[in-house]
Every structure is written in C-alpha cells, then in structure tokens.
Symmetry: C2
C-alpha cells in the first residue's frame, strides 16, 4: 500500500481503491452520497462500486460535466438534493470526478449544515496531482474562478491510475502540465523525467511523486502564509487566459493548457526579473510548445487579462503578485510585477508560437 | 473597558465602540466593506461612523431587512458586490445589524476568496446575546434555517447597548427570550433576575452576563461535540414553529417568540422525560406566557413541524434529539424523543394558551 500523509488525512494510491470500503465502514456514517458528473457516472462509478461491494445503500447526485457548470446554480442544486435525501451531519459525501466535482462537492459538503465529512476520489490526472491535497474547495462566480470557497480538508483521498484509462488524451495532457509544474518549482530531476513520459502510460509512481511535491509544500505552509504561493507558478497569467477563453472560445482551453501558456509567460518573467537563465527559459518553452498546441490572442485582450488578474486571489493591495522561478527546480514568491512586464510576457508567448 | 475572551477573539462591551477604530487601524486592511440592512443603514451606521471618525474610506453593501432575505439570492448579491468593489483577501467586512446581517455577512466573508476577516457588530438584543459568540455563520435554503453555513470566528465582536434605543420593543422582547434561556440552562439566579427586567432599560451588565454564559459553554465545547447542544434548549420545536410561521403567517413570529414557545414545549418534555419538577415547569410557563402573546396552531400542522425537526441539524440517525432541563439552571443534551411525546408537548402549549 502506498500512502502519503497530508493535513490530518491520508492520500491512498491504490489501483483498486482497496482500503476504501473499510475506511468507510469504520466511521459509521448515517448515509452516503456520491457526487458525480455525467461522465464519471458512466466511466468511474462502476470502478467505485466494484471497490466497495458491501456498500450498496447510497444516493447519487449528478451534475453536468464541465467548468462552465462549476457555479453557484449547480451548487444550489447539490445542496437541495442533499436536503431532499435527508442528509444529516453524519452523512458522508464521496466526490467522484475531476476537479469540478471535487471542488464543488468539497464546497457543498463543507457548507452543508456547517460541514459534513467528504472523501475525494479524483478521476482526472489534473485533479489527482493537484486538487487532491491542499484543502481548497470552491466554485466560480461571474466567470471568476474559485472566487467562492473554503479551506476544508477531506477525510481521505483515494487515487487510482485506473480511472485515467477512460480519459481523453487531451485531458491527460492538460493534467500533465501540473506535473511538469511540480518539477519546475521543486525538483529538477523530476522535471527532466517529464520530458520522456508517454501520456498513455503514466505510472502511479509518477503521480505519487507529483502529489508528494505539492504535499511537502503544503505541510510546510498549511495556512498559505507564504511558501505555498509557489504552487501558483503559471497560474496568475494562466487563470486570466483560462477565464478569457472560457467566456470567448467555442472550444475553450483546459486548465492545464492555460497554465502551460501561463508557465511560458511567467517563465519569461522569471528570466526578465528573477534570474532564470536564458537557457532554462528556452528549455521550458521548448518543452511546453512541443506538448501543447499554440493558442492565439491579440494585444486587444491584454487589458481584459490584467483585469482578471487583479480580481485574482493572489493579488494584494491592488498590485499583481507572482511566483517566479529562480532556476528550474526552485521557485520564489511575492514578486510584484508591473503591467508593462506582463504585456511583454504575453508578447513573448505570441512571438514563440508564430 | 469590559471584555470577554472567546475562541481566539475578544468581545468588547462598549457603548461608544471606543476600541473599534484602533482595532481596525492596527490590522492594516486593504479595504473596508460594511454590510447593513436598510434599517441598520438608517439607525446604526451613524453610530458606527461616529465611533470611527478617522475611517472614511469604506464601501457599503445593503441588503433588504428580514429573515426572508437571509437566503442564497441575497448572499450571491453580497458576493458579487464584494467582487465589484474589488475586495481582496486583506479586505475587512464589518457586519452591522441583527442576526440576519451577522449570519449572512459572516457566511459571505468566510467563503469569499476562501475567507476574509470580519467583525461582528450585532445591533439587536437577540444577535448581541446569541449570535455574538460561537462562530456560526449561515443562510437559509428552501425555508430550512441556517442549512448552509460555516463555523468561522470573527476577528472581534463589538456590543453596544446604544443600538437598542432604536429597536422595536417587539424585537427586544424577542431577544430577551434568549437571555431567559441562558438563565434556564445555566444560572438559576440569573433566571430569577430576568423576571423583573423592564425591556426598555436592559443594562449592559445583563447583556454581558448572558453572553458570558453562552461563551463559557462554547469554550468548554468549541467543536460542538456535546455540551454546546444545551444552547439548543427550546430550539428544536422552536425552529420548526418559526419555519412554519415564516412560510404561513402574514406577520410571522420572530426567532425569540418562536423559541419562547419552543421552551414551553421543551419545558414540558423536560418535565415528562427528564425530571424537571412540575413547579418549575409552571414557573417557566408562567414567565413566558406573561411576556409573550399566545400563538395558535392546530394538530394538522404537527406532521409538518416534525418534518422540519427531522431536517434540523441537531437530528442524527433519523431520531430527534433534544436538550432538556433537569432543573432550572441545569440542562442536559442528546435526549432522543418520540413523535408521540412531541405531539403531547405541542398540545401542552395549546392547552396553556386557551
Ligand atoms: N482544489 C484544488 O486545489 C484544485 C487544483 C487544481 C484544479 N482545480 C480545479 O479543477 C478543475 C479542473 O479539473 P479537471 O481538469 O479534472 O476538470 P473536470 O472535472 O471538468 O474533468 C474534465 C472532464 O473529464 C471528465 N472525466 C473526469 N474523469 C473522467 C474519467 N476517469 N474518464 C472519463 N472522463 C472523465 C469530466 O466529466 C470532464 O468532462 C478546475 O475547476 C480547477 O479550478 C482545483
Ligand atoms: N449565529 C448565531 O449563533 C445565531 C444565534 C441566534 C440567532 N441567529 C440568527 O439571527 C437571526 C435573527 O436575528 P435578529 O432577531 O437580530 O434579526 P434581524 O437581523 O432580522 O433584525 C431584526 C429587525 O431589526 C432591524 N434592526 C436591527 N438592528 C436595529 C436597530 N439597532 N435599530 C432598529 N432596527 C434594527 C433589522 O433591520 C430587522 O428588521 C436569525 O436568522 C437567526 O438564525 C444566529
Ligand atoms: Zn492548477
Ligand atoms: Zn436562538
């Protein structure tokens, strides 16, 4: 059995979720609710059911898949369904899905009757390596991502690489951007390993190392006072592009695709402002451009991007704060950056994709 | 200066809120948001402004007054306004109002960007003696009270009896039910004192002692594992009647009026099931009936009441849990009561008001 200890709970890495059934039985919940979206209902629920054959009495709550549904309307629907099912404070919520399901389900559970227990079973690579530790729950409002949420730890997280078998390659590629990020900010060797990975054969050991890097950062800074901000590398610009794409593109960028762009831009800022070498900037730019298709925007959009960044949670006192690399495998945070430099970074990405 | 220490924060009892301005300055907030309802905007905001003459830069968020507006729609409005005002994580929210404002404002603040600081300035007797300590935030959904919320402590609470000058006598009377409750569950002498109080001259010392009783209970049981449930005396039946009245009466019961009825009913249950003497049952029944007008319901409504009780947070494993008196000044909790006895208790109240 492979496990990691996070903030008061265990992350289990188990192909067959073999500890799950006992884990639930021991806690004597009054009731079990399983939150899925349509896709995880079809592809992942059977895996979960096979893993807990003795647990047959549960209620399913289903939401529509996709980031555009990670909103307060669906959340109200989830709350009302919990109410309809008569959930009490000893009920357990199992969130089975990608980050949309784990984030919204975590938020719904953490606020229903002022908080009931929940277990996260992330089923996308992205949610496995990123949403599995840290205790962030949340939903979007007016296209501002995760603007409403709580810090609440789950009772446990179960990660099985099996779920990835039914996931689009595009989704895996998106999640892989976070894996690369963990290498970039903390572990140069791991970053180098990422260069050779084939996306259809990602091993549990790779997922585990990625979670471990994030978890180590979180354990050093549980209340997000400082260090934890390095996990935002690529996310300040990435979130802005993601938000823009979500409201403007017919086929919007996935989270990881957006932060891959963000990491190129913020790589440039690291080079310009924080001592990252030109060679390393080129190395990471090349890696991302080889794996992720180019995206187009124009300078007309820059003001909009910067508006979104200003609304971003990492922003304080109206300045825009970044986490930037010092070198590959080493990141720093609380670097406040000018609008002009952000524009230059956005231009840099465009120049590389022409 | 009179203060109490609660869970990591101070409750200040100050006519003129004289420590408030310094308290805010010391913390260097990026921005100040003040949540009011229409009435506290008119009657209480001037008092607050006079108390912090050097703080002139703040944004006001106003909601409509009344329990029927303590809902997710207004909460979404509050969140969106916070977003429009560009609030960042270092913003402070001051909730200036009765329990509707402090509960909803506490919830909005505790979930905005995963939590910003807030200060509670309760302006009704009820919210001063009850909502001021305990860290409960919340809103109603589908007429189920406080079904969505968090446990989040404010940075401070400021209590001034001055605010009560503009409050309806009916509102004061309602809040006074909670004051009596604190006597009933913990302090027989204090209960006796309540008998002589004139509602237009409630003293700060009385408010303070009432808060102190609740605070002592909370400090002994910060995570609501047990003892804290005694604070629910009168509330299991009271909440059901309150919910019913809210959706059926043109002029619905106030919270305290409903729990006054609840305390008579649960006083009866205490007598029937938990050893409260008949003399003491009569004593408390007489006190409440002397102060609170009779309310009418019929046995047709009992099933509806019991349905609401089953949805109540104190309910576990589908049984209905009560806090009941052993004697005046001494309460016990986790007493699971049958539907039949609840019916008898509801009948008892009716028989006394005929
Ligand atoms: N809480 C955190 O710390 C944290 C960290 C990173 C990202 N997030 C959030 O996660 C979200 C993105 O997560 P995501 O990429 O997992 O998105 P997602 O939940 O939308 O999943 C992507 C798609 O894959 C489908 N899917 C999920 N698992 C599947 C499987 N095993 N087989 C087939 N289809 C499957 C989903 O239905 C969806 O259509 C964002 O909202 C982001 O804000 C949260
Ligand atoms: N969080 C807790 O621990 C806790 C405890 C008890 C009650 N509550 C909640 O509190 C709410 C009831 O509180 P409430 O009775 O204060 O209700 P409220 O906030 O609705 O206030 C009652 C009325 O008085 C007005 N008002 C408030 N202060 C005034 C003043 N100084 N002068 C003139 N008018 C004023 C309000 O606008 C409103 O119309 C309920 O929603 C209840 O669930 C919470
Ligand atoms: Zn991310
Ligand atoms: Zn109450």
């Amino acid at each position: 059995m492979q496990t990691l200890e996070s903030l008061g709970y265990t992350v289990f890495f188990e192909e067959n979720l073999s500890s799950l059934e006992d884990f639930i039985f021991q806690r004597q919940y009054s009731q079990i609710l399983i939150l899925v979206d349509r896709n995880t209902n079809d592809h992942c629920l059977p895996v979960l059911q096979a893993a807990m054959p003795s647990i047959t009495d549960y209620d399913i709550i289903e939401i529509d898949p996709g980031e555009e549904n990670k909103n307060i309307d669906f959340c109200i629907g989830v709350w009302k369904t919990m109410l309809d099912f008569g959930a009490d404070r000893k009920a357990l919520m199992i969130n089975l899905g990608g980050g949309v399901v784990t984030d919204m389900g975590g938020f719904a559970a953490s606020t229903f009757k002022r908080g009931i227990d929940f277990i996260q079973i992330p089923t996308t690579l992205l949610s496995q390596v990123d949403a599995s530790v840290g205790g962030k729950t949340g939903i979007d409002l007016d296209n501002v991502k995760n603007i409403i949420g709580t810090f609440t730890q789950p009772q446990a997280v179960f990660i099985s690489a099996k779920f990835l078998a039914t996931l689009d390659e595009r989704q895996i590629r998106s999640g892989f951007a976070e894996v690369i990020k963990h290498g970039l900010i903390q572990d140069r060797n791991f970053y180098e390993k990422c260069k050779d990975v084939e996306l259809d054969t990602i091993e549990t050991s790779m997922i585990k190392r990625s979670v471990e890097i994030k978890n180590d950062v979180i354990l050093k800074d549980p209340t997000e006072q400082g260090l934890r901000k390095i996990l935002n590398f690529g996310h300040t610009i990435g979130h802005a592009i993601e938000g823009y794409s979500l409201s403007n593109d017919r086929n919007p960028l996935l989270h990881g695709e957006a932060i891959a762009i963000g990491m190129i831009c913020e790589g440039f800022l690291s080079y310009k402002l924080n001592g990252l070498s030109e060679v390393e900037l080129e190395d990471l730019t090349t890696l991302f451009l080889a794996r992720y298709s180019p995206y187009t925007y124009t300078s007309d959009q820059y003001d909009g991007f910067i508006e979104i960044m200003k609304n971003d949670k990492k922003n304080e006192d109206n300045k825009i704060g970044f986490a930037l690399l010092k070198e590959i495998g080493n990141a720093e945070y609380n670097i406040y950056v000018d609008k002009n430099d952000i524009v230059e970074a956005l231009d840099y990405y465009l120049s590389k994709t022409k």
